[in-house]
Amino acid sequence: MIGKLAVWQATTQRYSRLLPARIALLLVLLVILVFISLSAVSTGAVSIQRDVVFKVSVDAMAEKLHLDYDSGLDYTARCLPGQSCVQRDAALIREIRWPRVIMAGLVGASLAIAGTALQGALRNPLADPGLIGASSGAAVGAVTAILLGVNIGDVLHSDAPALARLTQSLFAFAAALITTFGVFRLARWQGRTDSTSLLLIGLAINTMASAYIGLATFISDIREVNDIVFWTLGSFAEIFWRDVYVVVPFTVLSVVVLPFLARQLNLMTLGEAEAQHLGVNAERLRMLCVALAAMTVGVSVAFAGIIGFVGLVVPHLIRFFTGPDHRIVLPASVLTGAILMIAADLWARTVAVPTEVPVGIVTALFGGPVFLVLIILSRRGRS
């Protein structure tokens, strides 16, 4: 009896230590996220000192929030040609670097949380936002817009280049939703959705999409090919605040809603029927996860193009360290996805100055080997 009591206390203690450990992990990831964001903003073709970045950012925030605060940075210093100066740096930081870094963070977080939710809801560790057709569908939409040469600017009698991009983004988002819905609809049979056929149908749709994109590349002229490459390999070039404002609500929706489903996603690992026996409406949970993933990934791809591997690898990476409990895996993958994407973008735009490497190539370049190592290590850990 005493032995049993001791065992019970040991387990309770272990589980009571779990929460502080998880909060600590999230805090550490948050600190890394802030640090890498500041580094990313200060690094680039023009290098800016980190304290200037920090002060300019704080001033900008104080201004936005109407706070009476001034870092004491002198914005009026005269700019000499060919030299870095506060005035020019501040504009660069506020209008170019921050939107880009924040967008990278949002897209990374979106892809990672979508991947985690899908792997849980579909009970398949191979599930990835790309596999349910969201990414390739978005690319097909954007490529179609490029090929047809449609532009909202024509309707609005404006020739702003931003409107051409916006048109492509709209096409991409719509196509992402339509494709995911189509994949989901095709996988539905007698009122139930079978996860395996969902993934197989996604695979088939992806193959058709790459054929379409390949064909489009083949028949396009050089300028169009450049645009198509942007969509298929991903990039955060030419991202401005207005793009960030569009993406934020979608990412926030997923980041806020999905953690509430964490316990239900845990139960899904038992199997659909078993989850149902424990009170989970499995079909609704899966529809909700797929819908949220399609929306967040669709809008991410619409602005940044297809960026592979983050949605697949990040959940595995987190689970390797924390175990499979979605209550920690979901929030941790949000932060880790953001960190990794900001780092990938930083590398993509600084490694071959003055040109940029498409960020999708960077994520695949690093994601592939990391995934391999994870698979081998976790296999060793099990046997």
């Binding site: 049993k4 065992v7 019970w8 387990t11 309770t12 589980y15 849980g120 009970r123 398949n124 560790p125 316990r263 845990n266 139960l267 899904m268 690992t269 038992l270 199997g271 029927a273 078993e274 149902q276 026996h277 424990l278 009170g279 989970v280 409406n281 689970r319 175990g323 499979p324 409990d325 976790s378 099990r382």
Partner: protein, 288 residues
Amino acid sequence: MVNHLDAQHLQYHIGKATLVRDISLQVSGGEILAIVGPNGAGKTTLLKLLAGDLYPQSGQVLLNGQPLHHHKPLELARHRAVMPQQASVSLDFTAYEVALMGRHPHIRGSETREDHRIVEEALHRTEVLHLREQLYATLSGGEKARVTLARVLAQQTPILLLDEPTSTLDLRHQHMTMQIMRERAKTGVAVVAVLHDLNLAAMYADRIGMIHSAQLEFIGTPDEVLTAPNIHAVFGLAVEVLAHPTHQCPLIVPLATNGHVTTPPEIGASAGRKVLADQRVTSAPHLG
């Protein structure tokens, strides 16, 4: 609380194959109902209908007088727990975490000390407490079954539906499982268990339902149902029914002729169909 599961004229078919044909049965708190029958007779389908996993094409299941599908999933999960035939877990959860999942229908927010105590107790009762930190996926089949049983017990429901809970267990743990069911029944729980071992059913069940070719052929006490003619009609096996030496129940012993218990079916004729034909002549008043 009244624990009563009432199946009325259940009918379930996929395409032309009828899996459950006009089955009616009741089970109340305090009793164990064992469902026995040959492979493919429709036992699992019947259990799925009782659990609410499948909807019957006609007939209905009443839980405490209310149709099953009128209950929300979470509400249903507080009323009945289901132990599946085999349970896999797709991610690397530990045995303890898997058992803790049984508390889900009762947890508001985060699990309490009470939840942990219930799970510890369930794992202790099914004799797998020492495995609690091991990954569920690395356990043996029988250990998995006992962890799953602990999860089902931790759900603390007034109705338990078990699909072959003992099929992967060694002799000791088969009896342990059935003893746990007896303890639960004593506290007012209604238990429905699909069993293959007729002797296990004879020892622990209050009533036995014998299913054959989608129909409930016999239902009653072990003494009424487990007779040599019934078993021969349904399983196609000659047996002798003895009295158990230490327990008030029948003991079924297969008989051998010329050293063979079963004879291979003749080519072209299915043994099952032949038995069914016998069955219809002897004791089937209702033909489907």
